[in-house]
Symmetry: C2
Subunit: 545 residues, 2 copies
């Protein structure tokens, strides 16, 4: 180690945008990842752990320029070797790009299809913000080499199982499925996409996609504006629109609302076609907010929910080969899921799902938690999306030249943890250890024997190892550790073969409440025989459970 003699002291700080995780934050995430891994495993997915470091070339999102190719990633250049310039390396920014590299590299040794799951940190060299960090966890499952939409259906079912496994009740979430091909079909029929000349209207389609992706935030009105002349936001900034005609707009709007339409009569978007007066329609739907409350029960909607959505989509894509193919794929997904017992109470067809990423080519899906939580200002709001994914068929091609079909999902572990905490399903505080206090330093062996007994009985326990002189500090320490029980033994107790056991949870409750009614008959400290240490501690732990 370099001598710090004359240099100023280093700052003890995490780099900007990074953070430390303590105690329950770490163990609860680990537990959640473990539960999700068990579901992935049960579905036949194999674990894969690639390293955090990849070559910039393999990551692919960013082409190396002369100086510094790290737009959005953390990258550095290896030292040159024998006149050969060093490779540019980078921290992975997701788990999908490494999967493509792994599959291309090991494809001769891997089964086809290759089902793999991966979980671990990824890094983004982006401006950090509140709740946005430059290192965070991803937890993915993908099937590579399976062209059939059965692979997509399976991932939707698995996603639902994962959510229930980690403690989200059925009814508190919904998996929404869409298909990029259906939207393309709708755009084709609306005249914004020409299969013979894919470059035509590309500008307009870009605006349409971005507008749909902002549906949650802008509402139908904002999307309508962006499909038309454009939108002025609250600050006065103007965003250019796609300048679609009113009937083009109507078709896209009907597509977006096909899920809500099938679900709720009052939305009254009418069925698939564009046979009504488009202007009247547009005036009618302005001000309406599409939303899902997870209440997709078939019985409530009358008839099969998904079937009715699919019928609307049939009508909206009539005349488009791509569109019909997309609807057919959704129909297949819906029926495969129904065969496994996954109905519209868990997984629904919902055309308003777009997913931002450019590389999706077919089915896309998203899991949303449908219960309300309170935002920072105490207003109720839906919790929103916790997972998403879809089919992407071009990622491996970069390496091999061959198109390899792939589909997968990524679960936002940190958002899911926040959701469980918001629902009160997870305490933010881990259970502290039983603290054996030190009244007499010379008796350290006796105290150590006590914790050894407790640990052997499976009870979390420790001896206070700070300076024992100030006994108050020992109890403060126990408090800071959220200890449920303190064990106290000094000369008097040792002489009698007794120990004192203090119920710290009850103690805290008594300190909180002035009346004590509830606990007045319950003592918060016991003197018991040394031999009863384990049984008495266990009794108190049970009492406070």
């Amino acid at each position: 180690m370099a001598k710090p003699k004359k240099t100023p002291r280093p700052k003890a700080e995490t780099p900007k945008g990074f953070r430390d995780y303590f105690g329950a934050e770490v163990t609860q995430r680990a537990e959640m990842l473990h539960k999700i891994a068990q579901v992935y495993h049960r579905y036949g997915f194999d674990a894969l752990e690639s390293s955090g470091v990849e070559t910039v070339q393999a990551l692919g999102k960013f082409l190396p320029d002369v100086d510094r190719p790290n737009e959005g990633v953390f990258a550095w250049q290896e030292d040159a070797e024998a006149d050969k310039p060093g490779d540019w390396l980078a921290l992975r920014y997701d788990l999908t790009a490494p999967l493509a590299r792994v599959y291309a590299q090991h494809r001769n040794d891997l089964p086809t299809p290759y089902r793999r799951y991966a979980m671990g940190p990824v890094w983004r060299n982006e401006k950090p913000g509140p709740g946005r960090f430059r290192q965070f966890y991803q937890c993915d499952a993908d099937t590579v080499g399976a062209p059939s939409v059965a692979a997509d259906a399976e991932i939707c079912a698995m996603l639902a199982d994962c959510l229930e496994e980690v403690g989200i009740d059925r009814g508190d979430y919904i998996v929404r499925v869409n298909n990029r091909k259906v939207l393309n079909g709708v755009m084709e029929v609306a005249g914004v996409l020409d299969p013979a000349n894919p470059d035509n209207f590309a500008h307009e389609r870009g605006i349409v996609l971005r507008a749909i992706d902002k549906l949650d935030r802008l509402g139908l009105d904002g999307v309508l504006d962006l499909l038309g002349k454009g939108r002025k936001d609250a600050s006065g900034d103007f965003t250019e629109g796609a300048n679609l005609s009113v009937s083009q707009r109507q078709r896209i709007l009907k597509f977006l609302s096909a899920g809500s339409d099938a679900h709720r009569d009052e939305f009254a978007f009418g069925s698939g076609g564009v046979d009504e007066d488009p202007e009247e329609f547009e005036n009618r739907v302005r001000g309406i907010h599409l939303f899902s409350d997870g209440n997709y029960d078939d019985a409530i909607s009358g008839g099969s929910y998904n079937e009715r959505v699919l019928a609307t989509l049939d009508a909206l894509t009539e005349g488009s080969k791509t569109g019909a193919e997309g609807v057919e794929e959704l129909r297949m997904i819906s029926s495969l899921l129904a065969a496994q017992g996954y109905n519209a109470d868990r997984i629904v067809i919902d055309p308003s799902v777009v997913r931002g990423l450019g590389y999706y080519t077919g089915p896309v899906f998203e899991a949303e938690l449908t219960f309300e939580i309170q935002d920072e200002k105490g207003r109720p709001r839906n919790f929103g999306s916790v997972a998403g994914g879809g089919r992407y068929d071009d990622l491996v091609k970069r390496f091999t030249g061959q198109e390899v079909p792939a589909t997968g999902v990524s679960i936002g572990v940190d958002r899911l943890l926040a959701a469980l905490q918001a629902k009160g399903r997870m305490s933010a505080q881990a259970e502290g250890p039983v603290v054996v206090t030190v009244m007499d330093k010379a008796r350290m062996s006796d105290y150590q024997a006590m914790v050894a007994e407790l640990r052997q009985a499976g009870i979390r326990a420790e001896v206070y190892l700070g300076n024992p002189k100030n006994f108050g500090n020992q109890l403060k320490y126990a408090d800071r550790r959220a200890s449920p029980v303190a064990v106290i033994a000094g000369g008097d107790e040792f002489d009698k073969g007794m120990i004192q056991i203090k119920d710290l949870i009850l103690g805290a409750k008594i300190a909180e409440s002035a009346t004590l009614e509830e606990w007045k008959d319950r003592p918060s400290q016991y003197e018991v025989a040394r031999g009863d240490l384990v049984s008495k501690v266990r009794e108190i732990l049970e009492l406070n459970r």
Copy 2:
């Protein structure tokens, strides 16, 4: 994504020195980490997860130079911001340096003492070699702020518990404990260390420490040479020695062998003092190899093993205050451990443990697996060290100026996994999924319903999602996945309401063996009613367990 039109295809390769981990390699490590975390937790240690990225300044081992401060670490400079040059960031190279940073940063919010555990990848920018990678796992537990050796003793006990928890039997490992102060005391008495002038003899002491650290590899003879005039290795290279006198050498040798001495009469190193003829002694011990076979049973050695080692150390350090303090600390550790039931069959005092790291200041410890394995050439050898640690009191001081006592251990997870595999405790192959084959693509819903049933029964299962045309490929796929069972159903079976269930493990055994005696009465394929799918599969899985 940048268009790859004109650019050559990227190479699908891990960066040099990195690797991918597949299937059981990942899950077995995760399981082991989970088990170790449970032990750490039971001892009152709290989880900490810091980010993989730290400022180079906080990591501290490397002072930033003008250009490129990444000697041994992966480092890069952040983009400049408003004329302020960007910070140098680096991937952490261990979990201890980040702990020092975390403790200094959060010390007002953390309990004192702070017991924390951490597990995760670390990165070293070093030349990779066989079995040496530039990303690997560490799994540490440390107590910060506890000056008492009770903290060291606790960590030794915890280390023993961890090894047993992950499947190393008692008797197959030994935790060896030494104290840097004792060696310093021995060197003081031998006249190679002057407490009044610590800089004197620093050169000689450096040679002595390095020689002792190589005891395993060089044997006593090599160490004797290095303590004397020097050593010529097999290639003819000469390493300069410390030029100690024969009686100085004897004292250090007796120190080194105090553990073996107490253990085995035949070593006959004599007890502590240097009262014999040193030259005669040196001739006698040349050619002897010190080793531990884990057989430290007190009864075999006669009397308390640790007490006899400590008595030898008393004699060897007589006259040195530091030495006596060190022996007293070891005595305390030994007695605290005995009070918790940890005797010389699990934890022994062994002066031959030095541990390479410069920063240890007191007790040091090491866990060694004592069973023999076969090396690459089929020769038996001891498995060796799988964990180590010790007390280091200066790491936090870098940040705060205050000395903070700390002690901790790091378990080599990958070596421990290799050990369990060598002992046959862990199969390298994870259990594959039941594969439901696809005879009729139109029946996909029926196949999906079958796997859904199996999964709901907790059985790992999947439908074959590749191209189903070639049925042989489906069975090859099942083979590659190490599937225990294949389910087969085509038109005939569906008409009859039956399915075929193929026992693939038995099939493989039959294929391996010509005689078949053992299995000749056991069929490898069954036709059962569709309703008996789960029960029959479960029966076959049980049979093959």
